[in-house]
Amino acid sequence: MVDPKTVLWGQTIAYTFYCLAIMAVVAWFAYKVTRKGNEKPFPKALFWTFFAFLVILGVSLHIVTHETIPWKAMDLKRHKIVADREFTIAVVGHEFKLPARPMIIKKGEVVRFTVTSDDLTYGFGLFRPDSSMLFQMQVLPGHKNDILWRFDRLGRYTLRSTEYSGWKGLRMTVPDAVEVVE
């Protein structure tokens, strides 16, 4: 499965390019409006072309991500997918109750994490040693909160609550909570 870091790099490049382009366009516009023009009104055809571009962009973005980001389709169909391994985690009183520590996963396995909360809204996120995020989900009390993930790379991951649950939850971090082995 494509690494989320790769997806984020793609987003970084695309968004940076877009930002530089739009800043240049607005700056150019701001310069040109102070200059005398050729008195021809702005062609409506260009306006409608821009409108069509916005529609195509809005529609295509989500189709492209559906086809290129594997965890998106996997998440939508997760109730139909049988996981290779399952972990059930409870959260209460700002503490994660893990079935094992670390939770051992074999490289290539599709794993389901089912997390429940008995009191507040928390988050469930796995982070690499460099603090970058692998994935996250919200954990709502009174509901089953599950996520399916395929682990293709060896490594250890820290578990952190990704949602604010009051000052008592500021240190809801479990180092090396997950280990992916051969």
Binding site: P4, V7, L8, Y15, C19, I22, M23, V26, F29, A30, K32, V33, T34, R35, K36, G37, F42, F47, F50, F51, L54, V55, L57, G58, V59, L61, H62, T65, H66, I69, W71, K72, D75, L76, D119, L120, T121, G125, R128, D130, S131, S132, M133, F135, Q136, Q138, L140, P141, G142, H143, N145, R160, T162, E163, Y164, S165, G166, W167, K168, L170
Partner: protein, 540 residues
């Protein structure tokens, strides 16, 4: 004039508070209070910016989160609502060419918003009540972490602001539809239909199109006010719910939190809050852009009917996008995430994109224009939304949300660039444009300071959003304190950018004080000497 003389009397002594009508005074009071609360937000914002670099010894972690809770509420309700209410309570009667329906209601709105903001800010300051503005159930009622007394006053303060907002909505719609004494009866139903866009829809099916009775900026204000009314209802209801638990706790009853479903609450809460963020903000801003473009150029708006239709579409879209806040909530139905969260949300690219293009083309068709301060800040506002809306569309994607939700990406390139660059620069454009009208000819003290204000605000706002976004892409979460110095280089750069925003505000603040003078600022709050319902002195 010497500096101290100007500080007291204003630039060339031109600002005479005694010459102001009651309407002008009310509007200027809203603006002054709005700027005071902006100062609160920016100072507390800088405290947090520095805290993210190095934990300050005189600020506790609880205090940090109390500041984080109050910060967006002071910024939106205290500052933005004040400035917007002041501007619109002046502009609606101005554009409808009749007096405001009720000046008294306007004063009540002013008092409730200003007072309510101070109540919740002070409650948070003293008690460190800090469930954050998101109020995710059952955190607001978690009395093992938060003071119930502080919470009661906090929620009461929010309720006061909502009451002020409700009175504003009533005043706007009554002003649009009522007949002033001594005038021919106005067609209330038709005016309301035009303001809301119903007559525009009927026009689609008519061979002979009926003229719009209400100007486009007033239509924008009316439609945004629909979202404000709905949002006010949601927040008031939510506040009452939280208060029930608080009062119960005070009386010794331990009400079960599980009586309220956290997912249903979150859906209800975000439906309501998105009526601000994806509703009235976008509609009001688009209306402001159109008004600014037509006032700056003196020309008609390009493709006005399309602009009017887009405002209506945006209103309807705002009711249906809330699921983009629940993309990482696994119990949320997938169909809602796809339709509401992704597809309908993507419509905002179209509606805001159209507003952006229509405004720019209106300016283009009026070349050459002089690069005045209002025009400069209008470009800043346009750029802000051009940067922030695509950032929002990206995070409202199921695949990307999995790795972006609750990171600094959301609050950096999206929220702060939208609010600080997009929204605030649009408001500043209106302030600079309307200043001579509202003050009966006061002259801006320093153009150089206005330029410092512009560049520092633009670069600071974009810079802060960018560095927060970079940290978010590296995995830095929002609402989280780090204790090992992770992401510090990004936070240092974000803090420096925040400092630029502070410099911008100080430049603007000094410029305004020197323009109207300290006596002028005090004079704004004294009772008006002129007894008239007219907006401007001597006008009919």
């Amino acid at each position: 004039m010497k500096f101290t003389e100007t500080l007291l009397q204003g630039e060339q002594g031109l600002f005479k508070p005694d010459s102001l009508t009651p309407m002008q005074k009310m509007t200027l009071r809203f603006v002054v209070v709005g700027l005071v609360y902006y100062a609160f937000a920016i100072i507390e914002g800088m405290i947090m910016r520095v805290f993210e670099v190095v934990h300050l010894p005189f600020v506790t972690e609880k205090q940090f989160y109390a500041i984080l809770t109050a910060h967006p509420l002071v910024g939106i309700f205290g500052s933005t609502y004040s400035i917007v209410f002041g501007a619109f309570l002046f502009l609606v009667p101005f554009l409808m060419k009749k007096p405001l329906w009720s000046l008294r209601l306007g004063h009540w709105t002013f008092g409730l918003v200003a007072g309510g903001t101070f109540v919740f800010w002070f409650a948070g300051f003293l008690s460190h009540y800090s469930p954050l503005y998101t109020l995710y159930w059952p955190l607001p009622a978690d009395f093992s972490q938060f003071s119930v007394g502080g919470g009661i006053f906090f929620i009461a303060g929010i309720a006061l602001v909502m009451a002020g907002a409700a009175l504003f909505v009533i005043n706007v719609f009554k002003t649009i539809t009522y007949t002033p004494p001594g005038r021919d009866k106005q067609p209330a139903g038709a005016l309301l239909g035009s303001a809301l866009g119903l007559s525009g829809i009927r026009n689609l099916f008519r061979k002979e199109k009926k003229e719009h009775l209400v100007s486009l900026p007033v239509a924008a204000i009316a439609r945004g006010s629909v979202d404000m009314a709905l949002n006010t209802t949601v927040i008031l209801f939510t506040g009452v719910l939280i208060l029930v638990y608080m009062v119960g706790h005070v009386l010794g009853f331990d009400l079960k939190h599980s009586g309220i479903d956290a997912l249903l609450y979150k859906n209800w809460f975000w439906w309501g809050l998105d009526l601000i963020a994806d509703g009235l903000v976008l509609v009001f801003v688009a209306g402001a852009w159109y008004l600014l473009a037509t006032l700056i150029t003196g020309k008609k708006l390009f493709m006005e009917n399309i602009a009017r239709a887009a405002l209506f579409v945006e209103l309807v879209v705002s009711w249906t996008v809330w699921s983009h806040h629940l993309m990482s909530d696994q119990a949320q139905p997938g169909i809602l995430k796809l339709v509401s969260g992704e597809m309908v949300t993507a419509f905002e690219l179209i509606t805001q994109g159209l507003a952006f293009a229509i405004t720019l083309i209106t300016l283009w068709n009026a070349r050459p224009l002089k690069m005045t301060h209002p025009l400069k800040f209008l470009f800043g506002g346009l750029l802000g939304f051009a940067l922030a809306v695509p950032a929002g569309i990206m995070q409202a994607d199921l695949g990307l949300n999995r790795i972006l939700h609750n990171t600094q990406w959301v609050v950096g390139p999206h929220v702060h660039v939208a609010i600080l660059v997009g929204l605030t620069m649009t408001l500043y454009a209106a302030v600079y444009l309307l200043l001579p009208v509202l003050t009966n000819g006061a002259k801006l003290w320093s153009d150089k300071l206005a330029n410092v204000h512009f560049w520092c605000h633009l670069l600071g706002g974009i810079g802060m959003g960018a560095f927060m976004g970079m940290a978010g892409l590296q995995g830095m979460l929002r609402r989280t304190l780090y204790f090992e110095g992770e992401f510090r280089p990004y936070m240092i750069l974000a803090a420096l950018s925040g400092a630029l925003l502070l410099v911008a505000f100080l430049a603007f603040f000094l410029n305004i004080v020197m323009t109207v003078g300290l006596r002028g600022v005090i004079g704004i709050f004294l009772p008006a000497k002129l007894k008239t319902r007219d907006l401007l002195p001597g006008s009919k």
